[in-house]
Every structure is written in structure tokens, then in C-alpha cells.
Symmetry: D2
Subunit: 283 residues, 4 copies
């Protein structure tokens, strides 16, 4: 079922819901899902509506036009998206295949509602897996002494493909600040720890050192500061003394791919609203 998604964040005040739902009712809009959140701390209000496209007398631009005055009146950060316009996603990976294979299979079986325009990797190992799924694969090696040419090429590819979103499916390289900025709130990373524990390299090794009883994974938007962006989703799995580092990697992989796929799904369905480095996820 085709829907339009109206997503709003604005300073909280009385009457917002009435104003918005009146407008939708005026045009006979059939709301299939509605979520609201008033954040007492920040004084902001967050709202997401999903409306049947065929119940409205206009297309997505029509909805934008009639909504714009309300948005202006209430100083809203807002967007309207059309579920029929599938987001263009660039996946980036390195050598580890678990997250990539998981996303590719979900895409292949129709579970992930997006278009994967390509996979970019600094290694050639996963080419065949990607190409079996009929998705273009770009091998862009990164020279550790001079990373700029590689990231120029990555940037060129991403722009050329008009990506809406970049997913770092265990890419293991830090993207340049300009690209992060250009794609602010649209670069999704999976970190293999329960942030803010174990920032940076080798988190499972750090976890083993500390003797924790649960290990986790964190899906977050990438910002300039390493592993410090807004968290979209997290989960953990229980471990014990019987699990060595290799076991932790194996168990962690399952958490990573679950957390990344959930986080990406939320993003693709416009369910994630960011405010003050935190997220509201209408999951």
C-alpha cells in the first residue's frame, strides 16, 4: 500500500496535532499510522503520520504545498516522503561479509524497501556475492598513505548514484569529514560494541579484557567525532567465561547484523528523528 509519510519536529505548543490532523481530514486523508512524542526536557514535539496515498486528491508535491504554511507557522523541521519513491542506498563494506550478506538477502527477499545502487568496497573479496544479487560492485582500494584519491572516488560514485543514504556495513575505514557533512544524518554505521563502551578499534578485545557479561552492537548516524553520533538502535547478547575472543566475534556478528538491519529499516521508513544528538525512533 502506497503511503505518504509526514515527519515533523518543532517546539511544542498547544494545537499542533489539531492543526495537522484537520488539514489531513480536510483532504480526506486516511491515516494508517500516527506517532507523537512530546519531549519535556527539550520542549520539542515530534510527530510522524503515514497516510494512504490514494486517499488524498493530490500527489506528494501537492501534500507538500498544502502543508508548507502550517510548517512555517509552527517553525517545523519537516519532510514529506512517498513510500513509492524508494531510497537509493550505497552499501560500503570491507572484507567481513556478515552484515553485507544479511542486508543483501533482506533486499533480495523484498524485506528492505529501497534501491541498492551499488556496493563500494576497499577490497575485491565480496564482488561475486554482490554481483550474484545483480548489484554493481565498485572496488576502490584505499592507500593507507594517501587516502584522498580513494575517498574522492567514493564521493564521486555516491554523488553520481544520487544516493539518499550510505550504509557502512563494517567498512572499517573512517569517512572524510566533508562526506559525513554532505550526508549528515544519512550515513549509518554499525559499531561492534554497546556504545559508549569500547569506542574505537577492537571492541571485542576490549570487552574480553574487561570481563563483561554481555556484548553488544550499536547502529548510529556518523558524525565527525568517532562513534559519537546519534544512536538509532542497540542490542546485546549474553556471554560467559566459556567464550573466547573468537566466540565473541561469532556471537557479536549476529547482533551486529540484527541491529544494523533494524536501524536501516527505521531509517528507510522515515521513522528516525534526530534532535540534540539523540534520536526519536517511531518503531
Amino acid at each position: 500500500m502506497r503511503t505518504f509519510r509526514l515527519v515533523i519536529a518543532c517546539p511544542d505548543r498547544v494545537g499542533i496535532v489539531a492543526k495537522v490532523s484537520n488539514l489531513l481530514a480536510t483532504y480526506n486523508g486516511w491515516i494508517t499510522e500516527a506517532n507523537h512524542h512530546s519531549d519535556n526536557l527539550s520542549g520539542w514535539f515530534f510527530m510522524r503520520h503515514e497516510i494512504r496515498a490514494d486517499s488524498l486528491p493530490f500527489d506528494v508535491d501537492g501534500l507538500r504545498t498544502v502543508f508548507a504554511p502550517i510548517a512555517a507557522e509552527y517553525q517545523m523541521e519537516w519532510q514529506v516522503s512517498d513510500s513509492a519513491e524508494r531510497k537509493k542506498v550505497v552499501l560500503m563494506a570491507s572484507r567481513e561479509s556478515h552484515c553485507l550478506a544479511d542486508l543483501l538477502h533482506r533486499f533480495h527477499s523484498g524485506e528492505l524497501d529501497c534501491e541498492i545502487t551499488s556496493v563500494i568496497s576497499n577490497h575485491d573479496d565480496l564482488r561475486s556475492m554482490v554481483e550474484w544479487h545483480d548489484i554493481p560492485f565498485h572496488h576502490v582500494p584505499v592507500d593507507p598513505k594517501d587516502k584522498k584519491p580513494a575517498f574522492d572516488e567514493v564521493t564521486r560514485l555516491v554523488n553520481e548514484q544520487q544516493a539518499d543514504c550510505i550504509v557502512l556495513a563494517r567498512y572499517m575505514q573512517i569517512l572524510p569529514a566533508e562526506l559525513c557533512e554532505q550526508y549528515a544524518r544519512r550515513v549509518i554505521n554499525i559499531h561492534h560494541s554497546f556504545l559508549p563502551s569500547f569506542v574505537g578499534a577492537r571492541p571485542y578485545h576490549q570487552a574480553a579484557q574487561r570481563g563483561v557479561k554481555l556484548i553488544g552492537a550499536t547502529c548510529h548516524y556518523v558524525t565527525e567525532e568517532l562513534d559519537a553520533g546519534p544512536i538509532i538502535e542497540q542490542d546485546v547478547v549474553r556471554i560467559s567465561h566459556r567464550h573466547n575472543a573468537e566466540d565473541m566475534v561469532r556471537l557479536g556478528k549476529d547482533v551486529e547484523k540484527m541491529v544494523l538491519s533494524r536501524g536501516l529499516r527505521y531509517h528507510l521508513e522515515d521513522r528516525v528523528l534526530v534532535h540534540d544528538n539523540k534520536t526519536v525512533v517511531f518503531g
Copy 2:
């Protein structure tokens, strides 16, 4: 913060949200929490609003008065409650103390927003624990050969105390049908299995026999059919071959009390809507 809670269930159609939120906005109602659910299968719509009492120009009856015409127009099942009018709860228990002690402690520490009018038990064992909490304790023994006098007394006590809600905190007796009917959707039971598995007596024993790897608990409204009422909340805990029946009872107790206290909390805050023997829980 005092709030009024407006809870609605009605056949779904366009404009309900607009109508309701308009009314609230007209009176300058400040919505602190709003939840909606459209059920595609049944074609019903469910909504719960929490509104700051001090933002409205009338009391809870005033809200009922202005809302009644809308309710009639949309054929709503509805109720308005006032968070300041704490529900009157009768707890019923037998000899096992874990659920009762848990609820009493939550009540005592201000976590459960209700008034516990009394505890009724078919045994006298837990009297001292209850009375330490300054709550009246009624020992109403049940004669297995003639249960009627006991349940007449229970009914009398419950009515006398004008209870809004009865909680069977491991009461281990089946309430008479008339009392269940009188308190339909207001008698809450905790069953010590993950329903619909292991209906009836000795569910942990049944679970041990079947060799399951998780055991659970289910909080549900009581209906005439045993353990078949609308489910409010469930949870499970992992077990293994190392756990014998005694361990399962011990581990199960923790799940039971968590599930019961969550379920009761949802009920007290008017978060549970029942339709077709299923619940919508705006948790």
C-alpha cells in the same frame, strides 16, 4: 502532574483524530502523550490521550460533557479518567508471597499509583507482611467442599470496598463466574506459564515434562474460560537441563512478578484496550 486520560475505541474512519484533537485544542488542552492504533484486520481504531488537567477550563466531568457528542457521533467505546482519582485495588493471594510482596513494595515506594483497599487471602500466612504496609488483611478460608460462602464473603468485601480492580497475585482459586462478569476486564491474573502453553495446574511441571528451553508468565484479564482471557503482558526466562523443577519455580517467580507488575501498571494508567479477546497496550 495531574492528567485526564481519554481512551477511545471505535470503528475506524477518516477524521477521528482531527475531531478529537480539535476539541482538545479548542479548550487549550495540553496533550502530554498521544497514542493511536488502526487495526486493519478488525477495522477498529484505538486512541489514548493524556492531557494536563490544569490546561483545561473544566474538571473531568466537564471533559466528559463536551466529549460526549463526539463519542456518540463516532459510536465510540470510551472513558475519561482522572489521574488524581487513584483506582481502588483489591489484591488476592494465597500462601506464595513473591507477587504480593513485590506489589506491596512497589505500592509502598510510590511506584504503583493506586489505593490498595485490602488484601484478601484464603490463608492467614501473609497477614503480618500486609499489615506492616498498613493495609487491611482479610482471611477468608475456602472450604473445598462448599466454596460458595467464601466467595460470597469475597464478593461482599470487594463491593463494600468499591474496588475498581481485582488482582489475583497467585490466588490459586478460580473466582466464581458472577464475580468475573461483574468485574469484566477488571480482574487481572498472573499465570505461571507462557500461555497458551501449559494451561491449568502445575505449569512448571508440565514445562519440565516437555523439555522447553524457556519458561514464562502471562498477565491476563480473567474470563470464564480458564487461562483464556485477553493477554496484557508476557515474558520468559531461559532455562536449561541444569534447572530442576525447584529452580524453575524460583526463576519463574521473578518473571511472574515482573509481568504482573507491568500488566497492573498498564491497567492502572488506562493503557490497556480490549477488543475481540485481544489487547491494545499503549505501553
Copy 3:
């Protein structure tokens, strides 16, 4: 690291561990993992040792030879396996790809220590996916009016490939009793409910009808009685009123594949001991 796995079940009595560990110590056997379980209810004892192969002065048959007298003395059900002899596994699937793709990827990335001799399916849909993994694919259509020819062919293939184990990765057909008997405790099924709830067809539909708050999956050995065999592993995922049947299928898939892959892993590593229709899993 190559290991020999000594797995024992026998009536419990004093001195078993001493006898076994003495024997191993006599030959300088280096135990890397040891698990014991005394079941009070049945009076049986269960034990699993993993011993470094290179610490012993003989091969796996040598270990069997020196161990046989002890086994006889204590009336043990026992087996010794060699981690270097990877079990031969036949996967069976239908049209749903999630469990199959998950197992194939785990196999491909070296996480599942076995040999997959082939995939047998009653549909041809998944051929390309299987063949990309360099695994033979057999399309054996099942005529609903006369299933015998198909199952004769399945039996022939399984025997020809000298399978150690058959995995029903959402095969959706009931295997004939003779095949189940021939492969007793070696046919692994994934059922998409938390057994014993929702036996048989369309468990998610049944779950939606009952209004449960968690859905689950169960990995079990297949016996003649439908969905009643010894349970190896189970897990659940939380759902709410917001999840329709389609969502439950989607969320359930993730539980199914996790539970099946864990159960299979336990089986492949000889961690599952069956007694009285229940399992001891030394996970």
C-alpha cells in the same frame, strides 16, 4: 585445533568421572572442555569431553578401543567423534529462503563446521542461490496426491550422500516415518512457534488470533508425532498490537534462523544428548 569428542549417557553412580578421567590421564589426554550433568529425576548421568587429538597416542579408533571396556562396565550409551571428520549434512528447503540463506552464509564464511552434501527442495526457486555456494541442488517435486515417489527419491539421495544429518530449513513437508526412524535424532526441524504452543500449520496466524505478546521459534529433532520431538533450542521476540501477521512473519524469520543455526551448531559439535524425549545441551 583437532579434538576428539567423547559423549556419554548412563545410569548415574559414584566413580564415573574418576574412571573416565583416569583413562584419559593415563594416555596424557589434554581435556579442553568438560561438561557433566546428573539428572536427579531420571537418575541418569551425562558427560561430554573434548580432548586435543594431538595429545593422545592413538587416533579416534584407538580411543574407542580403550574406552569400550569402561562403556560396557557402566552400561553407557556413548560415542566418540573426531572434529576433523566433518558431518555430512543434507539441507531441505521449500520456497522460503531465510533459513537456507542463513545456513549457507554461515557455511560459506566458515562458521558451520560441516560438509553440506546437497540441498533438496520440492521447488526449483532456490537453485541459483544454492549453486552460487558450489553446493549441488536437487529439485524433487512432491505430488500432493502421491508423495511416495518423491520421498523415495529423497531417501535415495540422502543415502547415496551418506548424510549424517538432515536439516529441514522450512521444508514444509512431513517426512515419511521410515526416513525419520532411519535418521532418528539426526533430523533437525525448525518450527515457527514457541512449542508446545501453536503446533501444526500457520502458527503465526494462530498467535495473532490468541493475541500473544511474544512469538517464538523451536528447533527440535523430528519424531513421528508432529512437532513433539525433543527440543534443542528456542527463542522469542516481543511483538505488540502494532504488528500485523506480515510483521510477525518478518520478525519471526529472524528468530527462526537464529534458533535453527544455534541448534544445528550444537548438533554438529555433539553437544546435544537426548534422553526421554528431552535434551541435555552442553552449549
Copy 4:
């Protein structure tokens, strides 16, 4: 059933299990539970046996006597305890009652196998609750400007009561280094975060700031470095944007008391072995 618990940690080598189980078999010892762990990284071996007391021809000192030579030969850290000698526990609390009430109820209902010699608190608030359980309550106020007199009194009480173990059930004060040292590996704390995240004060506040999607609790032995001691047990609970700081405190309390009671239970049953600031928990 009375048991002796033999707990061992030593450098790993061939023959330890044989030696120990032989000794036990010689005296006809009936092992009801046995756990082993070989840690590859450290090269250490950990073992715990639970033996029926009535199967041995001597008492716990007799077992110590016959075992000592083996312990010396293998350079073991070891202890033998008697389940009939219940550990003496001092509980320390401040004003928050949830952990204390939980432990007291578990004790009261026979679930915690120990003797609670007293509760020490820097406030008098919880006296009545403690005394209802027939447990002595000591109010030892702590002067923030001069804490020494208070901790001298605490030390005196703990020594006078010959405590085996001190449990900080949300005591909110840092014990002096000397007391921690005297009771090394016997002071158990509950920290209300998933360590190593959010060390120190107001962890829920820190968690809210960072926007995590799970909050947790950690039960650990106290060492001189704040919140850095060996972790015994951890768990988490899911939160979302809908939960404010007050909700997090409420949800966190349930995790705290579950984690503390599990950790304490492991400790009381001699299931926790510490090595290199990490624990082996034979749960």
C-alpha cells in the same frame, strides 16, 4: 541436601580432573554438580565440585585434610565450604529501598541461603522494614566532612559480626580502602549502569544524555578503583525516547535488583572464581 563445595583455580596441566575425581571416588564421594573451565588465554584451570556431604566418611575438615596434598602438588588456589555453614552477610543501604527489600524478601522466603547478621545504613529510613524481618538495623550516619568515625564504626560492626561478605545494596558511599582490602572479593556492589559505560555518579542521567537504547546494571566485587572491580553479573532493559529520567530510574531498579540478587546467589554458592580482574561464574 547438604553438600561440600570444592572450588579450585590453578595453572592448567594434564591430569588434574583425574587426580581430584579419583580422590573423591576413593572416599565414595557422590558428585551432584561438576564444572570445569580451561582458560586458553591465561593457561589457568578452574573447577567446582558439589559433593553430597552424607556420601563422604568425614566432615568438611576431613575433606580439607585429604585434599591438601593434591592442592599443594598442583599449586592450587582452593577452598572447601560446607553448604550447612551459611555465610554471614552484612547488607549496607542508604535511602533507596528496592534492592534491600528484594534481598530481604528473598531471604525471608528461604531463597537466599545465608545469614543476614545486620543491615547498616547511613540513614534511618529503612529501619522498620529491616526490623520487620527480625534483622538488626544499625544507623551509622556519615559526616561528609569527616567520614572516618562512621567507617570505623562500620568496620567494628562488620568485624564483630564476623561477616563473610558485605553487600552494598545501593549504599551510595565509597568504602575506605582498608575495608575493601580486608574483604577483598567479598564486597559486592550493584552499579546502576552497564559498566564500563557510565562509571561514577548519576549513570541514568549520563545514559539519558547519550541517548542509549538500553540501560543496565552491573554486580561486581569492589576494588580500590571505582566501579572497576571484577564483574559478576550484568543485564539490561530496553528503553526508548518515551522514557524520561524518572522512567529510567524505575525500569533500572528492576534490573538492579535482579542483577544483584543473581550475583549474590552465585557468590553465596561459591560459584564465582576471580582471576586477573575477571570472573569465572559457574552459574
